[in-house]
Amino acid sequence: MIGLKTKELHLSIVVTVFLLILIGLIVLKSISFHHQGSFLSNPFNKQIIFLIPAITLALIIIFIPRYSIHKYSYPFYVIGIIIVLLPFFGDLHSNTFRWLDLGLPFKIQPSEFAKVFTTIALARYLSDHTIQMKKFSSIIIPIGFVLIPTMIVMKQPDLGTAIVMLTPVLPMLYWSGARPFYLFLLVAPIFSILTAFQTFSFSIWACILGLVIILARPTLLMSIILFFGNIFLGLISPMAWNSLTLYQQGRIISFLNPEKDPLGAAYQIIQSKTAIGSGGMFGKGWGQGTQTHLKFLPVQESDFILSVIGEEMGFVVIAIVLVLVCFLILQIIKRAFLSKDRFSSLALIGIGSIMLAHVFVNTAMTVGLIPVKGLPFPFISAGGSFLISSFFMVGLVLNLSINYSD
């Protein structure tokens, strides 16, 4: 059995992860160069230490029988909800309930694990039920399923992780055969509201909406309701917004952009872009990044680590990193496609979506495409809980991508 497994293990995935970790360690060593403080507060040392439990966990996961993963996915979903609720009973850490303090020298972020548990449970739900995926109603329950832990995480507040937790739903529904048109209808109102504040973007959105409705050819009445319903929603949202008091508007803005100091967030983006831009093709050299060593970015070892790579190693290494990540995700999708069992296939798609969401949100933030959201980059950023949960996902990918029926 074990012989079969090791033969079947996909070396390409292991090698890709290894390369990403290696690049991460090289960068962390540079950041730690001027570090003063205790041994564990040095991000390089911390990363090395946390790799031990992370790799151990991945190895254990590989050898767990797949039916056990399937069998215990619901209990783990419940455990996931409980552990994201636990921090609310503890103390505030930097003004959030994200962290669980168990008296260890580091704190644990339970949402990192809950996101994986939720995805696996969703995979089981979508694979167990011989539900009619073509029906609109059958995509509502899975969404509710994921929304419960997501809302709790959002309340912590941790918008970044909440986004990552919610992301796998659409790809998994798509993968399980839901009509793309219905999925489009789900996200359409969000776009209608978001684009409504600018005439140009709203016009473009209205065109896209019309085009999709024409292509999908629902009944005439349905088309009219859908199109004008969305347009109406878009038209009233600026009015609704203006009818809110300044205090309420402030609450919503600070919810969507939790960085308390807007000056600080914009400042970080400028510093990040300057660091990346000044790196050029080949970078300034390891440990030579003048912008990086401005210690103004409070999270350069995790959220802004790509800025460090961009400045010190240049476009070449950035491109290598992103191509490696792309390769890893394509491999996961390929395993999902080749998989002969529905549960594994869906779980692989879910995990792939989580990783892609992390990469996209983190990188887009670093280069100033989206507002600052505190999310780390898989395998490269320093981080205890995040590193362990990333290896947890790698273990699952390796386990689930073995085809027994071959």
Binding site: S94, D128, I276, M281, T290, F296, F315, F337, S339, G352
Partner: protein
């Protein structure tokens, strides 16, 4: 496990792969744009312009007395910062600075190490510089690359009073302090933070908000103005706090206590406001600002009389006879107790195989309850202990706030000790103590320990028949309730009558505190507390009524003798101060 041949179609597979590739490609294109297309622009920005974030400290709020006079203010001083990454040669720069401003270069290097946080963050190397020292730095600007000055508000104390235990002191935030704070982001290294007294209790009001400036810095490290995208945030000064202290009263109390050890507290019973409080010996309030000499500092630290100890709420003392009114209340609670029947005091009392003496070894003769309070007779209380037990008496003491914190707005308050059965069993074992303990307890000796602020609170409760509010040092719109004893009105009135006798009767132990003037009434009680540290502690508690106004006074003199001969005369001086400051009959007072 469910098996199916086609989980997803080839079209779905291509679509999913395609979306993933597009997203990653979008990111790569963005990096290409930043790093290759716009490289020159960003490179220039990185090399010739750096944005430096400089925080400036907000002045702390002022601490005012009840009439708006300043107790604690801020003194503008200058600090010198160095940006480590811009210093061409650290040692040479420090030597040069040392030469032009006369500060030891070793000190500069020590500060540099202490405040260092990163290569491009301004690091403090000197503080408390004068304007002329800063001028000399600016004259040599071109030779001092990477060195900048900044204004820094420091605490100073313009008034004539010391009030050091009330006002407390501030500390400089260092790495240790910062990492232990709940809100580390609100403080920078080198900021000041309230560390004791009101400075600590009202830290959130006093501290204010940092200012932040973003400077554009050119290739020579010179600041080239603010960055346009980021307007500076002006430091927001902390809020002022208005204390209940009256500078004049505080000043008189401090004069009275010169050369003495102990506590005086004066306040308004109904509201709990404290007009003045002294814990002596004390220290200069600017002891902690770092501007005083090391010798003086060592004197304070090594002084055996512990000037740093805040005796109001951290000094634990046996109360002696000042708590006899609580015993009185416990006696009156018993239906069979007759306050008018007389008992004979012969100066000593045999209990089991031990003899307990009265303070008056000749004896008081026949005494009833009122004269027992008036003359502070111990034997009367020994002979009446059968009317209550240890736990009942302890309950009455707790009713008056003993054994509990009062909640005074200065940190570190001690609870003291009120012995009940549980306490005695725990301390001496089930059979390690006898009823003799009650004989000590009923006259305020033995295991019982109290803080002066608890005694002040107790005095306020007596003066207001239980309606007093929590003692406090800072004016507040809402007065806090405290534990209060519920006694019948006639018991309150008897206690108050008896306390009047202590002062007004020719045999009263507190007659030395009396002021013979119309319109005013004085009530009080003396205490002479035996203690293991030498001579007795002298106590006086009481209050003065003038028309509808009431002021309460607590005097404690450590190891000074008897309450009636030492504390009562001092209390009289305090009552005179009250009349002098707060009444229009001061002309009559022979000050």
């Amino acid at each position: 496990m469910l098996k199916a041949d086609n989980i997803a179609s080839i079209r779905q597979y291509y679509f999913a792969s395609c979306i993933s590739c597009c997203l990653i490609a979008l990111l790569i294109i963005r990096f290409f744009q930043l790093q290759i297309v716009d490289h020159d622009q960003y490179s220039k920005k990185a090399n010739t312009n750096r944005i430096r974030k400089v925080t400036s400290s907000a002045p702390r709020g002022l601490i005012l007395d009840r009439n708006g006079q300043i107790l604690v203010a801020n003194l503008p001083t200058y600090i010198l910062n160095a940006v480590p990454g811009e210093l061409p040669d650290k040692g040479a720069t420090f030597d040069f600075i040392s030469k032009i401003i006369g500060v030891d270069s070793i000190l500069l290097a020590r500060n540099y190490k202490k405040y260092y946080r990163g290569r491009f963050i301004p690091t403090r190397i000197a503080k408390d510089l004068t304007f002329s020292q800063i001028s000399r730095i600016e004259e040599n600007r071109l030779n001092l690359e990477g060195v900048y000055f900044q204004k820094f508000p420091e605490r100073y104390f313009p008034s004539s009073v010391r009030a050091s235990h009330i006002l407390g002191y501030v500390k400089e935030v260092d790495k240790d302090i910062r990492s232990n704070l709940n809100n580390p982001l609100s403080y920078e290294l080198g900021d000041i933070i309230g560390w004791s007294g009101l400075e600590k209790s009202y830290e959130n009001d006093l501290k204010g908000t940092h200012g932040i400036q973003f400077y554009q810095v050119d290739a020579f490290g010179r600041e080239a103005g603010y960055v346009e995208e980021f307007p500076p945030r002006i430091p927001e000064p902390g809020k002022n706090i208005i204390t209940t202290i009256d500078i004049n009263m505080q000043n008189s109390l401090e004069q009275h206590m010169v050369g003495k050890r102990g506590v005086i507290i004066v306040g308004i019973p109904l509201t709990g406001e404290i007009l003045g409080a002294v814990s002596n010996p004390d220290f200069r309030p600017d002891l902690f600002t770092g501007r005083i000499l090391e010798d003086e500092w060592n004197n304070v630290i090594n002084n055996q009389d512990k000037p740093l100890l805040n005796r109001f709420n951290q000094g634990l003392y046996p109360p002696g006879s000042i708590v006899k009114m609580i015993t009185e209340a416990a006696l009156l609670d018993h239906p069979d107790f007759d306050p008018y029947s007389s008992l004979l005091c012969e100066g000593s009392f045999q209990f089991g195989d031990r003899v307990f003496g009265c303070w008056n070894t000749l004896g008081h003769g026949n005494v009833d309850l009122t004269s027992a309070i008036m003359q502070s007779c111990d034997i009367y209380f020994y002979k009446t202990i059968n009317y209550y037990d240890l736990d009942k008496l302890a309950k009455f003491f707790k009713g008056f706030g003993f054994g509990l914190i009062t909640g005074i707005d200065i940190h570190g308050e001690y609870k003291g000790t009120v012995p009940d059965t549980d306490y005695m069993n725990q301390r001496y074992g089930r059979f390690g103590w006898s009823k003799g303990a009650l004989l000590n307890f009923c006259i305020g000796q033995g295991e019982i320990l109290v803080t002066p602020i608890q005694v002040f609170n107790y005095t306020n409760l007596l003066a207001t028949k239980g309606r007093a509010k929590r003692p406090h040092f800072v004016m507040s719109d809402t007065l806090q309730n405290i534990t209060e004893p519920s006694l019948p009105l006639d018991v309150w009135e008897r206690i108050i009558f008896d306390m009047g006798q202590v002062i007004n009767n020719i045999n009263g132990t507190g007659k030395n505190a009396n002021i013979d003037l119309n319109n005013i009434n004085i009530f009080g009680k003396t205490g002479t507390a035996e203690n293991p540290h030498g001579e007795d502690h002298a106590w006086f508690i009481g209050w003065l009524e003038l028309h509808s106004q009431v002021w309460s006074v607590v005097v404690l003199l450590e190891n000074a003798g008897s309450g009636g001969t030492v504390a009562a005369p001092l209390a009289k001086k305090v009552f005179m101060d009250i009349l002098y400051n707060y009444s229009n009959i001061n002309a009559m007072v022979n000050k």
